[in-house]
Subunit: 237 residues, 2 copies
């Protein structure tokens, strides 16, 4: 353990579901969509169809609330065979605006961890999603002061991290990423020779899940809550 983190100079944090609650709000919105469209299908089927449309639209819309709302409206038109009421569409627009304007709910211990680690390390945020949304959330979170750099990425593949580290002049061996998504925050880092700590959130979007096989052999730590990572670093001193 000691050796493993000895070289680390920069620690990257994912934002949604690592620093604050996010996926929960999407789940709630999906449930609301289910209720709005309950006339046409079962909640389960609505969930599945919404996911299908989201994935189909992902290359076009990317991540974030706006694309989610557009997909939800598309679903409503489809499931209803073009007979859904204007009221339902209006409700969906409202759901989207409410999601964008939700207050930030920090996860347990986040501020403590950042405060401690920022004394000895350069901290950055590497998040996926809508640029304006993510900037606004960071602003509202009150956490901006702990970070040297904020990067909003359109994707989190190996190549995106490589480019980011190159641009910030960080050696992969000197970088540790902390996040809730195995697929986006952990495996790409392991693959480029950086370190990663997985802090699972209780809910994971289907698109972010990975099979046991994909994660097989990858070396990373898993902790139950963000505060646990402090132990590694105090043991490290």
């Amino acid at each position: 353990m000691k050796n493993k983190y000895n070289n680390i100079k920069v620690i990257g944090f994912d934002a949604d579901d690592t620093l604050w609650v996010n996926e929960t709000y999407f789940r709630e919105a999906e449930e609301q969509a289910g209720r709005l469209l309950s006339h046409y299908e079962t909640p389960n089927k609505i969930d599945q169809e919404l996911f299908k449309i989201e994935i189909k639209n992902l290359p076009t819309y990317g991540y974030g609330v706006k694309g989610f709302v557009l997909s939800m409206i598309e679903l409503a038109l489809e499931l209803s065979n073009g007979t859904v009421s204007n009221q339902v569409i209006a409700e969906m627009l409202k759901i989207g605006k409410a999601m964008i304007n939700k207050p930030i709910e920090l996860l347990d211990g986040v501020e403590d961890v950042l405060k401690q680690l920022s004394k000895d390390y350069r901290l950055i945020v590497a998040t996926k999603g809508d640029l304006l949304d993510q900037e606004r959330k960071l602003q509202k979170s009150g956490l901006l002061k702990y970070f040297h750099h904020i990067e909003v990425l359109s994707e989190k593949h190996d190549i995106n991290y490589k480019q980011l580290l190159k641009r910030l002049d960080i050696e992969p061996e000197a970088f540790l990423m902390v996040g809730n998504s195995l697929k986006s925050d952990i495996l790409p880092l392991v693959s480029i020779g950086a370190q990663a700590i997985h802090v699972p959130f209780h809910t994971t979007w289907q698109h972010e899940t990975v099979s046991k096989k994909e994660a097989n052999g990858a070396e990373y730590k898993t902790v139950k809550s963000l505060t646990e990572i402090l132990d590694f670093f105090s043991a490290n001193k």
Copy 2:
């Protein structure tokens, strides 16, 4: 002239309507919206109301096609008093996807200018808008190879440019910005002590226009087409 650009080391380019056509597609989409809603209002009134809704939603949705489509749908619900057909909504979703997937139409001389300037200067892109959209457009444009850095900003105020230059370790005096929007690409740069060259595009979104008074006294060059800026730099050598 000679002295003015002697210190320049880095040249920043706006993207939409500076490197390639963009606003034209929004105008076309607005005309389509006008036809789709012609049942309820005159084209002129529809334009005005759409603009109002866009500006109202700007703090929530930000710039880009997705927010535009959501605003267009909101307008349809409002103007029709909740009676617009599903078909119209479906058409609006289609308009948005078509806008996002448009091929890139480079403006005259763009590639030449970038090729020439990239020999002697570091070139960067500083663009406002949707992260995924802008990255995709740059990819499709074939222009990526000329740029050292791409920055997608959620806003283009003085502070955003200041932070960008600081992060990239560029002195304002060593920076020249080139773009079509007085409000976003020119005035903020002049205000922070950098240089700016205005290349007007034939169409400007109402939100990007500035009054004569706001621009009063600001020192910047205006050229008719991008290729003209080469003259300043060859004269400079």
